[in-house]
């Protein structure tokens, strides 16, 4: 469950943004929080780890695989098999009900099969997150907290080795924030997945085994 970053440089040319990290090794067996102020590159780092973005130079090794050198197709296949993503705005599909949203990864790629096991897994996750009674509801019929629970189930339904959460509590009130972080952590633990979460909220840091302060690593250079 390891993440290793070596001599990483990433640039957004358009807004003259550069993220540079010399060396970073993360053991995601324990919950990890990546913190930093807005615009410090937290989301960018998470997407580099997930293989969504490619660095200009350097390497990102995830679960022993160099995701930086993979083709788009390979990175996508690797991500589908190994990484679950949770977003701040949940990114649920508004014309699908909660159940279909949870099973969505199975409909987007040939690498996953939507079989009885997948459906059972979705039902188990729904039960674990307390949304079994909401599975036929569409996103616009759910509260913010309920939507995030659906998004968590979707991220874990493929049994990933690593759960990456990008400020998943940013849209929630303080009570719901703590509840969702606990839920993410416990659900990831139950699923045997590592857990890395980006946040700028210092009050949530008690829930994590390790906190990585991105500016302290070098982080953004403008």
């Amino acid at each position: 469950m390891s993440i290793e970053i070596e001599s990483l440089v990433f640039r957004y040319e358009a807004d003259r943004f550069e993220l540079a990290i010399d060396d970073l090794s993360i053991d995601a067996q324990q919950p990890i929080a990546i913190i930093g102020p807005s615009g410090s590159g937290k989301t960018t780092l998470l997407r580099l780890i997930a293989g969504v973005l490619r660095p200009v130079s350097g390497r990102v090794r995830l679960l022993g695989h160099n995701v930086s050198d993979m083709t788009d197709k390979q990175a996508r296949a690797f991500r589908i098999a190994n990484v679950g993503l949770v977003f701040q705005e949940f990114e649920l599909i508004d014309y699908l009900d909660a159940h279909d949203n949870i099973l969505l990864p199975f409909r987007l790629t040939d690498e996953l099969t939507l079989d009885a096991d997948a459906r059972t897994r979705a039902d188990e996750l729904a039960e674990a997150t307390g949304i079994t009674h909401l599975l036929r509801a569409r996103p616009d019929e759910l509260s913010q907290g309920e939507r995030q629970r659906v998004a968590i189930c979707r991220a874990l339904v493929t049994k990933p080795g690593l759960l990456l959460a990008d400020e998943p509590t940013g849209s929630l009130d303080p009570d719901n924030q703590k509840r969702i972080v606990k839920l993410l952590r416990s659900t990831a633990e139950q699923s045997g997945a590592g857990f890395v979460m980006v946040t700028h909220d210092h009050e949530l840091l008690d829930h994590f085994g390790r906190v990585i302060d991105l500016p302290a690593l070098g982080g953004r250079r403008a």
């Binding site: 699908l96 199975f106 409909r107």
Partner: protein, 391 residues
């Protein structure tokens, strides 16, 4: 690349936004349907009109609009056609160049044209009887299949003609006719016609009538000069021809001078037809002899030119509609950029997302094409029926 997943998502998206999808489908359907429908309807109308015109060699009528003459003599739809005399029809066939069948299509019975003619007409058109027989005496009529069905008529029933002017006491009185036959369906204007003997239509017009025996009505005599009696209004004029009163019906004047609206002329051979046509060429002739097929061809030459113009306009409108639909789909794709980004982050390849968008567009197009085909088939079945009402 997976196909089932994008198809499922596309179906769910279209269903979730079903009113918008239905609207876009409707626009595309109309864009496809209207030009195709114009072509289909005009082609069917041409076939419908041309078939009857082709089977009618020559048509005689009063000088004036030859097209109105065709519509009166063949389709019984122009009841204000100027009249000619029965003698005119007899003269046309007098020297053995052909034979004539008079048509007097002027009066109505419960919404259907009463066509005064001779039994030759039934043979000429090859009409078959579903029930009963041809008219044999004054007051008999034979009804077309649509008339029989709409008015629920069978042999033995009665059919009353429609008075021309309700408040004109001196005008045409309604005549109660006996239905003696019902024609088998033909898909022609004969289905919507009431065929009767020419003399029966003259009775409807008031040129012949029957009343109580004047010699027995001493109380009603106003004046008597020799054998001629002038009677007052108490004399009962018959409005129905029965076996008891048929003998009292009589015609005033010479029947050769009685009116008809057209006459079908069947020349003995093509050469006779040309000779007959030549006789009616000239500005000073009060009559015209025409080939109905030529008139219908001329009519459709004009219709085809108009159709081509209308089709071009409709195609332009359709293309504009398609461009607007394309713009709607493009804007929709932009509005859904966040959704597509989410799908990519979750694991969809660019190909899957392109297929999803393409599937939605193709699904709308396919539904529109199916709807268009269905409506064209319905139009194909309905048009002949509608044409029998319109023409």
């Amino acid at each position: 690349m997976t196909i089932a997943g994008p198809v499922y998502l596309g179906c769910r998206y279209l269903w979730q936004h079903r009113w918008r999808s239905a609207l876009v489908t409707l626009v595309v359907t109309l864009g496809l349907l209207l030009p195709a429908a114009i072509w289909l309807v005009v082609d069917l109308a041409e076939a419908h009109l041309r078939e009857r015109a082709d089977s009618t060699p020559l048509l005689l009528g009063a000088k004036g609009s030859s097209l109105e003459l065709v519509f009166n003599g063949l389709y019984f739809s122009e009841n204000d056609q100027p009249r000619i005399k029965l003698q005119d029809a007899n003269d046309a066939a007098a020297d053995g160049l052909g034979r004539s069948i008079p048509i007097y299509a002027r009066y109505q019975a419960q919404g259907y044209t009463v066509v005064g003619t001779t039994v030759d007409y039934i043979d000429f058109r090859g009409l078959q009887f579903k029930k009963g027989q041809a008219f044999t005496q004054l007051g008999d009529c034979v009804v077309g299949s649509d008339v029989a069905q709409d008015l629920n008529l069978s042999p033995g029933d009665a059919l009353v003609t429609t008075p021309e002017r309700v408040f004109d006491l001196t005008g045409v009185f309604p005549l109660k006719m006996r239905v003696v036959g019902v024609l088998a369906p033909t898909g022609t204007p004969d289905d919507r016609a009431v065929l009767a003997d020419l003399k029966t239509t003259w009775v409807i017009e008031g040129l012949a009538h029957g009343h109580q025996d004047a010699t027995q009505l001493d109380d009603a005599v106003l004046e008597q000069r020799g054998e001629n009696r002038a009677l007052n209004a108490s004399v009962v004029e018959y409005t129905e021809i029965t076996d008891d009163n048929i003998a009292s019906f009589h015609f005033h004047g010479d029947m050769k001078d009685y009116p008809i609206t057209a006459a079908i002329l069947i020349p003995r051979d093509p050469k006779s037809g040309v000779i007959l046509l030549g006789r009616y060429v000239g500005e000073d002739r009060p009559l015209q002899l025409i080939r109905p097929a030529e008139q219908i061809s001329n009519l459709f030459d004009t219709v085809f030119r108009i159709r081509a113009l209308v089709t071009v306009l409709l195609v332009v409108v359709a293309l504009s509609s398609f461009l607007i639909v394309g713009l709607v789909l493009l804007l929709s794709k932009r509005l859904r950029s966040a959704e597509f980004m989410s799908l990519r982050l979750i694991g969809a390849s660019p190909g899957v997302i392109r297929f999803l968008v393409l599937f939605e567009a193709i699904a709308i197009l396919c539904i529109s094409v199916l709807l268009t085909c269905g409506l064209l088939v319905a139009l194909w079945f309905a048009t002949p029926w509608v044409l029998t009402w319109v023409v």
